[in-house]
Every structure is written in C-alpha cells, then in structure tokens.
C-alpha cells in the first residue's frame, strides 16, 4: 500500500481537515420555538470552556488517531473516541443553551455536528474495511454500537435536544409507528419471498416463464414510488368495495393494505431476479454431473443449485429489505403508518425536528439491516474460493 509522507493515511488526512472545518462551523442551532428558524451557535459560544474543551479535545484526538496509516484498529479507536467527544459536546451544549433561554426554546444539532458525525462514521467505515473483521465480529460490533446508542438515549443525556422533545411528547405513537414500520418492511419482504421464491424457481426451470416475468417485474420497478402508492388507492378501494369480505380484512384505498401491496410489488423483481440468477450460478459441468449421477430435479435444486445460489439470493433479499425500510416512509402519505407519519406531519408543520424523528430511525434501521444481511451473505459463501 502506498503511504503518504511518514505513514499518514490519505483518507485520514481528508477526514481531519473536514473534521476541523466542522468544529469551526456552527455546531448547534437555538430557536425560540419549534417552528421558527434558529440561529447557529459556534462551539466556543455554546457552553463554558470547562464543558467544551474535553469534548473538543476528544474529537481532535480521535481525528489525530485517524491520521495513522497503521494499525487500522487505532483508527477505529479514534473514530469511537471522536464520536464520544461529539456526543459529549452535544449534551453539554444542549443543557447549557437551554438553561439561558425561555420555556419554548429548542436546541438542535447544526451543520457542524452533522458534518462531524458523517466524517467520523466514514473514518470508522474506512478503518473497518482495512481491519476486514470476520462476519461474526462485524455482528458483535453492530450490537455494541446499537447498544451504546440505546444506552445513551435511555440515559436521557440527549433529552434536551429538540428531536428528543418531539419524541417525549409522542412516546406511544413512536412505539406504535416503529412496529408498523417494521411490519411494513419485514412483512412485505416475507410476502415477496413467499410469492417470488417459488416464482423464481419456476422461472429458472422454464425459459418462457422467465422471459415473460422479468420484464413485467422490471416495469413495476420503474414506476415512481409516489405514483405507485397513489395508484394503489383507486385499485384497492375498488377491491374493498367490490369483493365481498375484503373490507372486513381491512382492504381499503388508504391505510396499511395499499402501502403493503405497493412494497410487495417493488420487492418482487429483486427476489425473483436474484433467485433466477442465483440458481443459474451453479457451474454447468457440476449440474451435468449431478444429472449424470442420478440426482432427481428436486435433489439437484436442494443439494447443488440452492446452496451455490444462496449468497446471490440473499443479496436480493438485502436489496429488498433496505429498499423497503426506506420506501415504507412514503407509506405515511397514504395513511399506511410507519416513520413516514412523523416525516409528513413534520413537513406539513415545517417542524424539522419532527421530520428527523421519522428520518433518523429509518436510517439506523436500514443501515443495521444492510449490515446484518451482508453478514448472512458472507456466512452462506461456503466455498473456499469465495472466502478469499
């Protein structure tokens, strides 16, 4: 690997510069109430020197560790230290700013914090790439990070922040919409697997079905998501009104059913397409040998095609899951529930913090799902050639 100067990491240098710029930008926003635009507050005006200096020092030390070329584990430690410092600054700033202002005042992170967060997460990702941890280690790191996040939120250290105040006044709704969001994303994934997996196996076996199915599913995929959710309204309200018993099942033009249906339709292409591609990835000579030694079509599928295609099939499920967690936000628009509810309420009220209350959990959920699915994909690659 090429080193710059005396063993400096080139991306680390970039992160350090960007991180310094972030520290010099407005770190938090103070607003008189939840609707009006606030004013940016710089780090040095945010709280007492005794509160700011330890945090800023931790961030600087973290960025400094990130400069090192080797070992990558020190860069990872730098990212963790930096994130700790940034969170410290956030809590100190929030409590000190609120102490000086009126009852309706709101504090929230500003551009400086967000840039610092992105820079430190990139540093962490860069260090993790270099460390190349085994799948189970990656799982442990994810659990540790999510636990730390949960612990910080539960401790109330961030409860002065505006977005957490929005949460505090909507605790029950938040829990309900979280379950709804998970239900939409995972439920539509499950339904897409139940429909798409057998369809993919059939399409793999019959070229005619394959050439008929995949273009139709590709076409569905090209419909813009807003239009798709919109289209579901007339279709499902007609079904609800016409089909006896449909309304009793909760099928109507708005609500959970149309949102769920739209997500399932979007999910079919990755599921069917990757099932077909996965099953087709078995070497032709191995399949010929399997047939020649007397395996039935079912045995060939179970013993050869499925195990060899599983990583590709799971990659399809990964695409679906991450895509649906994001798309389910739009379900809020047609009353489908989920985190989108907060996003669209926030948009209507021009309350940025309410939008964040919907958007941030969505991002965390999608990232976690992507990491977990990547781990599963790696665990199913069983041949040594693929392990590298």
């Amino acid at each position: 690997m090429k080193t710059t100067g005396a063993g400096l990491s080139a991306p680390g240098l970039l992160f350090a510069v960007a991180g310094l710029a972030a520290l010099l930008s407005p770190f938090m926003t103070l607003a008189a109430n939840r609707i009006v635009a606030g004013e940016g507050i710089f780090l040095w005006n945010m709280a007492s020197a005794g509160a700011v200096i330890p945090g800023a020092a931790a961030v600087l030390a973290g960025l400094g560790l990130g400069l090192l070329q080797q070992p990558a584990s020190l860069r990872f430690a730098g990212a963790v230290l930096g994130l700790g410092g940034a969170l410290w600054l956030l809590t100190q700033g929030a409590s000190s700013l609120l102490a000086e202002t009126g009852e309706y005042a709101r504090v929230s992170p500003a551009v400086g914090f967000w840039v610092l967060l992105v820079v430190l997460m990139l540093l962490m990702a860069d260090a993790l790439t270099a460390m190349a941890p085994r799948p189970l280690t990656r799982g442990a790191i994810l659990v540790a990070i999510l636990s730390a996040l949960g612990l910080i939120l539960w401790s109330g250290a961030l409860s002065d922040l505006s977005v957490m105040q929005e949460f505090a006044s909507r605790r029950d709704a938040f829990l309900r919409e979280t379950m709804r969001h998970l239900g939409l994303a995972f439920g539509s994934l499950a339904a897409a697997v139940v429909i798409g997996f057998p369809l993919g196996i059939l399409a793999h076996r019959r070229a005619a079905l394959r050439s008929a199915t995949l273009p139709v599913l590709s076409f569905l995929q090209t419909i813009p998501s807003l239009a798709m959710f919109g289209l579901m309204i007339p279709i499902l309200s007609w079904v609800g009104a016409t089909l006896p018993g449909a309304r009793a099942l909760g099928i109507a033009g708005i609500g959970f059913a149309p949102a769920f249906t739209a997500l399932v339709l979007y999910s079919l292409l990755p599921v069917v397409g990757n099932t077909v591609a996965g099953l087709a990835s078995a070497p032709p000579a191995a399949l010929e040998a399997a047939r020649g030694m007397g395996m039935t079509p079912g045995q060939r599928l179970r013993r050869v095609e499925l195990p060899l295609g599983l990583p590709i099939i799971l990659t399809g499920l990964r695409i679906v899951l991450v895509q649906n967690i994001g798309l389910a936000v739009i379900a809020g628009l047609i009353g489908g529930g989920g985190f989108g509810t907060f996003v669209f309420q926030g948009l209507n009220q021009t309350a940025t913090d309410l939008i964040l209350l919907g958007a941030l959990p969505t991002v965390v959920m999608a990232l976690s799902a992507a990491i977990v699915m990547d781990i599963l994909v790696d665990l199913t690659r069983r041949t040594p050639k693929d392990k590298t």
Binding site: A285, M293, G294, T296, K385
Partner: protein
C-alpha cells in the same frame, strides 16, 4: 455385458446416431472415437439415458435400461465428464460420497469407501478428505471426478472426454492411472474421445464413429492395420500407422536370445520405445530386462519385421 441394439437418435430429419449396434464385454475398456458431430457423445449419453433413444435399446447384463426410471438407472452407472464437474461447495470426501449418499449407504461404509478410493488414486485421505475442489490441482480434480464416478462400484463407467481439460503430460499419466485402476478393479468402461492416440493407448476395443454411424469396431491393432474406411485411415494417420502399431507390441513378444550393449529396457515397454532407444543412442539392439535380470535382446531388424508384418 453391455448390448447396444440398433440404437438411433434423430433430431427431426437428422440422425445424430444411426442404428448403432455393439457389444461391450465386462471388464474391458471400450473407446468411442470420432470427430465432433460424429454422434459419439450422443451414443454415450443414451446409455445412461441423459438422451432418450428415438429407437433401439441398451441392455446391461441382460436388463433393458428402459425398464427402470432414468435417475435410478444412472445411480448404477458411473459418469465422469470433461472438466470434472465436481461440486464446488462440497469437500473432496463429500463429492466422492455423492452417489453412495443417494443410495443411502450407512455412514461408516461411505467413509471407508471414500478413504479406499482416495488411496487407490494415490491421494492421502488425511490430507485430501476435507479439501475443496478449488484447493486441488487440475490432475487431482480429475482423479477425484473419476473416484466419484466409481464410488458405488457401478456396473459400468461412462467417461466423456475425461482427460480433455488436462495438459498433455498430466494426461498421459492420468491415462496410465486409469488403465492401472481398471485392471485392478476389473471395471467395465466406455470412454469417448476425439483423440485416436488416446483410443489406441486405452482401448481393449475401439469404436470409430462417423456421421452417426459406427464405421469400425475392433481391437486397436486391427483398426491400425486394417482401417475399414478412408475415414478411419485418416483418423489413424497413414504416416504414423507403423509407429502406432509398434506402440501396441510389448518387447516380451519379440525378445530373442543374445546380448546387447547399453541401457536395458523393461519387458513391458513397447517396440516403439525400443525403436526410439536404438535411434537415439545409435545401437542396433537393446537388452531386455525382467525382474532385474536380462532375458535377451530386441534388434532393429526384429522391430522392422514386426512393423512390416501388418502395415
């Protein structure tokens, strides 16, 4: 005994295999040789019903192959193909155990059979059992492919260009190994190749296919000495015919009393080897050895007489 009875495969008006009949004796190697498109692979694949014959039938030890379901039939017939066809996600042991597992053999019987075969193919079981195909050399992969085909002690082993993907030096060794193992196990093998050299070296009998028809079915010496058609003669190669013929005759057949100078040759070496040794070292005769003792000599004159006998 394998009886192929007037078997035909037609694709529309084109007959890929046209009324071929032949009998293969148990415990022999039969090599089907022909150019591409001659129908040799189709003929082989009709024996384990990877292709269904349009008409005619195949009998193995008197039983028609049409009397059982194809996948049951195939479990009784070993099948080895070019490029080995090993399962990349299975270890060597599991690859070899594939057919015994389909036949529900008990576990310890399978394990013993896997080790027995690995040893037969000169691969240390402890070292190779748990490797994956990607961790083997080309020659090792090919041997595991053949071991897998032999695992359930099949009535018949079909091989479709099994050595086609190997480089020439490894190919010669693989052919020798196959011959050796076949002699030891007494297996019945039918092998398809486009290489007449391979056919002559391996075959107890050689079947030459041309345009879907069986044009000659005879022992290799007869194929070389009396090619039935111009096509067979072309396949053998007119110029090399005497050399091919010599390569079939062991020294033990023409050894005579007398002494000769220089490095001796073993009695099971071929006349072709003796000719080569004479020309290379400028001798008129080479000594012949058996079990460490000189038993006589082979002269250039004797080699010439033998080459002219049937050419």
């Amino acid at each position: 005994m394998i009886e192929i009875d007037s078997i035909t495969k037609a694709y529309g008006a084109i007959k890929a295999v046209d009324a071929v009949s032949m009998t293969v004796e148990t415990g022999t190697i039969t090599v089907i040789v022909g150019t591409s498109g001659s129908g040799k692979t189709t003929l082989l694949r009709m024996i384990n019903r990877l292709e269904e014959p349009t008409s005619g039938e195949v009998r193995i030890n008197g039983d028609s192959t049409l009397s059982v379901k194809p996948h049951i039939l195939r479990r009784r017939i070993g099948y080895a193909i070019q490029g080995h066809g090993l399962f990349p996600h299975y270890t060597v042991a599991r690859n070899i155990a594939a057919v015994p597992r389909l036949l529900n053999w008990p576990k310890d019987k399978i394990r013993a059979r896997v080790d027995e075969l690995l040893e037969l193919f000169s691969m240390d079981p402890a070292q190779f059992r748990n490797r994956y195909p990607a961790e083997l050399s080309g020659g090792q992969q090919q041997r595991v492919g053949v071991a897998r085909a032999l695992a359930s002690r099949p009535d018949l082993l079909l091989m479709d260009e099994p050595f086609g993907a190997l480089d020439p030096i490894i190919r010669t060794r693989a052919q020798e190994d196959l011959r050796h193992i076949q002699r030891r196990l007494g297996s019945t093998i039918m092998l398809v190749t486009h290489d007449m050299e391979e056919a002559i070296r391996l075959g107890d009998r050689v079947a030459v296919m041309d345009g879907g028809k069986l044009v000659q079915y005879a022992p290799p010496a007869e194929i070389i000495a009396k090619p039935a058609t111009g096509f067979v003669a072309d396949m053998v190669g007119d110029v090399e015919r005497p050399l091919r013929l010599l390569s079939l005759v062991p020294l033990s057949e023409v050894v005579e009393d007398g002494a000769a100078e220089g490095e001796p040759l073993p009695a099971d070496a071929s006349l072709r080897d003796a000719l080569s040794a004479c020309l290379w070292t400028g001798r008129n005769a080479v000594p012949v050895m058996r079990d460490g003792a000189t038993v006589g000599r082979v002269t250039l004159t004797a080699i010439r007489e033998r080459a002219e006998m049937r050419a």
